[in-house]
């Protein structure tokens, strides 16, 4: 493991951006890379939070525990990561239990076994704010060297994150919802076509498509697409 060098290569990050279908997936990949690069002898939990002005905030976590730790902050609208994000400064809590300024947060996450927290801002363009949050189950994980490593790691993510934010600007619908919309439009168009051709009702038309799908062992959505294609071809030939 690249322990001495916690900075991912530009190629690694570019590949991740190219291979991720959406911003959420990209951020998830970034959190996972961070956790594996920064984790030393004891595993480190990592989460990346992005807040966009007027847009949704996205949180990606290297695992479920990190996700819960981040969500707790949103419940209070306060926490080390949100402070790092909104004030754009590094927040270090070497010992969560004895730290007085974060008592309420420490209490809220007391069952997660987290002993120390480090949150580091990641520079982005105007219109969005970003921070990397690291959690450790041990005391003394975040010595000066580690803090420096995490900070330089965060710095190395800045450029790719800015690119990703531009590439995936304002995405109110995740990929699976968009593909459901698309699929629905095709199925509805095929239903309308069958209704028009057969003068039947919607249920009968839908049943015809289902039967065709079952008989041909193809997905309903693909059959609907086939029906539309065929109608399109006939339309062109008829001209």
């Amino acid at each position: 493991m690249a322990q001495s060098d916690a900075v991912p290569t530009a190629e690694q990050l570019q590949d991740l951006l190219l291979e991720s279908p959406g911003f959420t997936e990209f951020l998830l990949g970034l959190a996972t890379i961070s956790a594996s690069l920064l984790g030393g002898d004891s595993p480190m939990l990592c989460a990346i939070t992005v807040e966009r002005d007027g847009g949704p905030s996205t949180v990606a976590s290297s695992n479920d525990a990190a996700r819960r730790l981040d969500e707790k902050q949103y419940e209070f609208d306060d926490g080390p990561c949100l402070t790092a994000l909104r004030q754009q400064r590094t927040v270090l809590i070497p010992d969560l239990q004895s730290d007085e300024s974060w008592q309420h947060y420490a209490k809220a996450i007391s069952n997660e076994g987290i002993r120390s927290v480090l949150a580091v801002p990641i520079q982005t363009d105007d219109g969005s704010k970003c921070a990397l949050n690291c959690y450790s189950t041990e005391l003394g994980t975040f010595g000066p060297d580690t803090v420096a490593r995490v900070e330089s790691h965060a710095e190395s993510l800045s450029r790719i994150l800015r690119l990703a934010l531009r590439m995936h600007a304002e995405d109110p619908y995740p990929e699976h919802l968009r593909s459901a919309f698309k699929s629905r439009a095709i199925v509805d168009a095929a239903i309308a076509l069958i209704m028009m051709q057969n003068h039947c009702n919607r249920e009968s038309a839908l049943r015809l498509i289902q039967v065709a799908s079952r008989h041909s062992n193809k997905r309903l959505h693909d059959i609907a697409g086939d029906i539309l294609d065929r109608a399109g071809r006939m339309d062109q030939e008829g001209r």
Partner: protein, 87 residues
């Protein structure tokens, strides 16, 4: 009109169909959100609450809609893809 062979499965009774859907949903480890979105994508008209009630055997859906839920469960479990097909 004669009963078409393909209609046979619609006559095994709404309760059986509901029970079967409920079992397949539980075994398939699919989230309600994911199932509803897929079901919507292939033309489903029931809302998510009605679908949930149906899967908990509290409510019946129209025959065509029950068939669509079946189709959605089959297509979702056939190869583990989450998004509607044909992308």
């Amino acid at each position: 009109m004669d009963t078409e062979p393909w209609e046979a499965s619609e006559y095994y009774g709404e309760f059986d169909q509901r029970l079967q859907a409920s079992c397949r949903f539980q075994i398939g480890n699919i989230s309600l959100d994911r199932l509803w979105t897929y079901y919507f994508g292939i033309g489903g008209n029931a809302d998510e609450l009605a679908l949930e009630a149906y899967l908990n055997e509290l409510l019946a859906l129209a025959p065509g809609q029950m068939q669509l839920v079946d189709t959605a469960l089959t297509e979702l479990s056939s190869d583990g893809r989450t998004e509607p097909a044909g992308q």
